[in-house]
Assembly symmetry: C2
Homo-oligomer: 216 residues x 2
Amino acid sequence: MARRTKAEAEETRRGLLDAAERIFHAKGVATTSLEEIAAEAGVTRGAVYWHFANKADLFMALFDDAPLIHDDLLAPLALSEHPDPLALVEELAIGALTLLAGDARRQRIYTILTLCEYRDEFGVVLQRTLETMDRAHAQFASAFAEADRRGILAPSWPHGTAAAAFQWLLHGLIVDWLKFGRRFDLVERGSSVIRAQFQAYRHRCVPAGIPVLAPA
Amino acid sequence: MARRTKAEAEETRRGLLDAAERIFHAKGVATTSLEEIAAEAGVTRGAVYWHFANKADLFMALFDDAPLIHDDLLAPLALSEHPDPLALVEELAIGALTLLAGDARRQRIYTILTLCEYRDEFGVVLQRTLETMDRAHAQFASAFAEADRRGILAPSWPHGTAAAAFQWLLHGLIVDWLKFGRRFDLVERGSSVIRAQFQAYRHRCVPAGIPVLAPA
DNA sequence: TCCGATACATTCACGATTGTATGTATTTTT
DNA sequence: AAAAATACATACAATCGTGAATGTATCGGA
């Protein structure tokens, strides 16, 4: 083989990233060799070492332009000025689940991200994940704080606590779904739990059988 | 070296398991060689291959008698006949967090279990994890169902939904804590979120500012 | 059109691990 | 007390993956 066009070179680079994504997801990052990735992409290891320094570099390049779940959630949240922040976050969360459920690439990326062993050079990705999570938490906490100011959030939920509960719930749900082979309907089960959770966040909850406003 | 007593042999076996636990936790399962484990235990690879068939066998033996979080939670739940199942689960969850926070071995085991790549021969552990999670869910769901029958659970929480939310919340919390280097106080933050969550599960929640029983 | 840079393929040298085979000093058994 | 099994250590062969070095056909620019 010989030199290709810049466009063709970019194709093989993309092909390598796609191949890595599929194989990393199928059999784990640690056990995959660059030879396998090259073969899956229809090239040799020479191409891999041309485009990437090594496996860690290829691994990190995977996430440079990959769609992350928290970004799906946070981008609309940041700019929006909704009258009911709780309803907004609720809808955004369900939207993110729907998006994830229908996008195999997002599923693979997020599975690799949450299920691989972050050590040594790979630790950079862990660091970036942590920063994303922290940004997400700040955003959520601010939304819940705004809901609190507007009297929508139940008094039993400090906004930081509510945000943490929401984030852990969402993450636990997604990890469960991805890790154990998507054995339940993500959108259906996820939605029902999220709906119930946000109903619990609101403070217009009424004890059953007892009239709120007894006749004077 | 030569043959040791049965008791001494059992000691070296334990030593190998302990060494593997520490090194797996420190630098990941995939990147650790049997040589490193043997060295950490003060023996050679010969001892490793005498006691275990290979790395996968050693890996699985790690979890055969290891303390799992769900077992900490479930064992007391199964036999107990508490008048308030919600309070019981709440206390057990906080107790499990406290136990985990004070037990480095549990932390290592659970970190390895949740952060390693389950592939090939290691998949058996994933399968067993899944079964444990399912058993846990059944137990929780039954406790929430009992709470529902006794009128303790809020009507907005179907017991299956409540159980799922609790489990995902708890798992998300623990994974966050372990994965990102225990950067917050597990018991303190975890307790406050769990307390708030269980307060939301109960249906004796009252809208603020409105008297429940207005004077007739 | 010619030349240097590019985009790979091919080859090679090396270390790291693995599994096994063998050696051997004890321990246990008989 | 001799024999057999045990609990390792040591030595060895074979594989696998990496990284770098080298080859080379083509592309883009002067």
